[in-house]
């Protein structure tokens, strides 16, 4: 299913989130179960299915990474369930170093400053990768789409790092 079509939005990485939200509410209203109270069993089932699709679509388009994955899938590059290992050594070395820094937080003299230092690194890298992803997807050709797929893979590592960092912060607060 083409989620962009469903929300009548142009298929691209840049999405007007306000417009997406408005379309989402409209569609949700249209397919609300109350509207189908007196409808046939078949129509009721279809409305339930459509409401689920709308939720999935909204969820996917709202988040930049899922949106980029959906856009690539529409262009024939499917990466959402891949099990292939990522092998960019220098990138992975850097990830390893960041993970090592995360592991040092617990025993650090000043964990707060280490956390904000790591957070700054993660945020800066994530921002520049997202910018690069937007530019790469905008080209819209098969070669650049493969480059975009690699940028998405890298971004996933940074989202994971962010998540790990949040877990550590929570542990420190408890």
């Amino acid at each position: 299913m083409n989620y962009f079509q469903l929300f009548q939005l142009p298929a691209g990485f840049e999405v007007d989130l306000t417009e997406l939200g408005t379309r989402y509410l409209e569609l949700q209203r249209n397919f609300h179960p109350d509207n189908f109270a007196t409808a046939s069993e078949r129509d009721r089932m279809m409305a339930v299915q459509q409401a689920a699709n709308i939720n999935d679509a909204y969820h996917s388009l709202k988040q930049p990474l899922l949106r980029a994955e959906h856009l690539l899938a529409l262009r024939g590059v499917k990466i959402s369930h891949e099990q292939r290992s990522f092998t960019d050594t220098s990138f992975l070395m850097q990830q390893m170093e960041l993970r090592e820094q995360l592991a040092e937080i617990q025993d650090a003299k000043d964990p707060e400053s280490l956390i904000s230092d790591i957070e700054q690194q993660i945020t800066a890298q994530r921002k520049s990768l997202l910018k690069l992803l937007a530019a790469t997807l905008a080209v819209n050709n098969p070669e650049q789409d493969l480059v975009a797929a690699d940028i998405i893979r890298k971004l996933k590592f940074f989202f994971k790092l962010q998540h790990e960092l949040e877990l550590i912060e929570q542990q420190l607060q408890d």
Binding site: S85, M96, R99, K156, F157
Partner: protein
Amino acid sequence: MAYSEKVIDHYENPRNVGAFAKDDPTVATGMVGAPACGDVMKLQIKVNDQGIIEDAKFKTYGCGSAIASSSLVTEWVKGKSLDEAAQIKNTDIAQELALPPVKIHCSILAEDAIKAAIADYKQRHGS
């Protein structure tokens, strides 16, 4: 989800954790990652003149199954030639550790890590 006893054993007592000196010419490194779960795995091998893997070390940031898979591989490759080590299949790892289907990708990661380390060695030594 319950881990098998073997996974728990490797997770709680990982074998061969650590790293060799980077500048040691007999050392080769394989780095791999799994974007879906953010796991990062580093596997190093120390190879002697006869092309036999004398020692191996790993460092993995990931779930218990990923740690256990890499720990197991470092045990398995010791004493093997590079060609023998290259024969290790992810299915062997998954079977030994009784990994459930959702964790098969961890064994794939470990297989790819040893393959990457072997490729790194061959590239450095021009064979």
